[in-house]
Amino acid sequence: MLSEDEKKEIEAEVKHCNHRQAACIEALKIVQRHRGWVSDEITEIAALLEMTAEELDSVATFYNLVFRKPVGRHVILVCDTVSCWVMGYEHIREYLSDRLDIGLGETTADGRFTMLPVPCLGACDRAPVMMIDDELHTDLNPEKIDEILKGYL
């Protein structure tokens, strides 16, 4: 069930749009902000926006950062694109995998982290880089990663 807050926030977005469907990406973001991911409440969101659930799911699954599966408390986005690759992305990913005991697309057993690859983060002069939640972390190396991870409980 969508909460009253979620519904209210979605309706506020609808007001800015020409038709209800145009608010659907905002709606998915709102629900994801409240729950961490977009569960099968997607049916309810769709009804609210006068779409079919299939239509909305086709939008939700198109975009990289709408999560249709539960994720950990923190999402690590590791840049796997060219400048970071040249600067040692593969070692960074391997180190993260070893430290957290997960591969790309997986969540740690304690639900703390999910690790995902992300296309170029636009911080190529400070490669290799990753984001955790809203924060960008640059010039990565193993010691730095250890330090950074401590900040996310």
Binding site: I25, N64, V86, C120, C124, D125, A127, D139
Partner: protein, 437 residues
Amino acid sequence: MERPLIEKIRPDRGPLDIKEYERLGGYQAAKKALYKMTPKEVMDTVKDSNLRGRGGAGFPTAQKWSFVPMGDDAPHPKYLIANADEMEPGTFKDRLLLECNPHQLIEGMIISAYAVQADIAYIFLRSEYRLAAKRVMSAITEAYKSKYLGEHIMGSGYSLEMRLHTSVGRYICGEETALLNALEGKRAVPRAKPPFPQVTGLFGKPTVVNNVETLSNISHIIGKGAEWFKGLSLSTDSGTKIYGVSGRVKRPGLWELPIGTTIGEIIEEHAGGMKDGVGFRAVIPGGASTEFLTKEHFGVKMDYDSVQKAGSRLGTGMMIVLDDRTCPVGMVHNLEKFFAHESCGWCTPCREGLPWTEKILHAIEEGRGEQGDIEKLESLAGLMGMGKTFCALAPGAMEPLQSALKLFRDDFQRHINEKRCHYKGTVPIYGRSEAES
């Protein structure tokens, strides 16, 4: 040397608020345009300035605007959109302009929107630029409070609403018609052109989509004039350009320089040349979708026509350097993996061809390549060339591949013959630290 785009940016790259922006002369150009100029005069000034789009394609900005229907019969609302979906690999220039001088973008958008008589403006921002989102949002709020946005801007007869849309990922959103679909709450697949967005764009209404750097130039052109703008450059193109370099150079970064600065100057002087222990091999001059150039091109001016003549494209003007200890096959594999992942799936050659290309490259890199693979890749590059696919994504993906097959053919062949990557184990690791240790 004048650096209009970055001159107001604080040395610590901290937030520049509206008071400070105004104190440094900000919003004077918007006043000039709205009080003293007709929309046509604004458009003519931008036309005279010869400004070309900084997003990658280099299309003349005023010409793009000129297709928008004008006059009393024109359909409304009309839209102006800032394309801030900076996702071209190796490109980080708009991030600087968005984070450190958002009012320059907003002022440019007000003037541009006025020129095409748009009613609503959007900034389409990629999801991961969280700091930019925060600062742009607060700049929009400030601009509304100071009556630079909203009804009857600064007491003039012109009104403009502005909204920030933060995206949820996918490279294809940077393609202007795919961007329109994303804003309409659809899958971001490209649309057929014609009709062009200037006539039938967002929600079917006339729409102009311009890059952040392009729009950030507008206030300066209106403030100081077309002749001044032309005088900034070292070539036939006008203005300055934000150039950047990433890869194993001593000082990766970005610089605002006269357009037409040479590739060699940017890499050797501004980026400080290669790190100790590695040599220069090649460079992709303008983001991932451009062809490799080599040392013999160091004298080439970084402007649209010169880079084209040298066999590549200026693109975003953001260079990615390949050094002599990094495997070119691995690098091209990484690029094609990106493009295969980001293909929107709308047209068959791109959806099927890019993963196939990636698979072959992966096999070669891992020592599973077979004789004939190089020819297969060449044929795929031909099949996904310009005009063979629905949009420019796959042709862009083929540019670095095609040039790599020519320039590094021996490396591809050796991988296949020896059934291994002969660079493995020679690649230094961990970014900057290795040069310093």
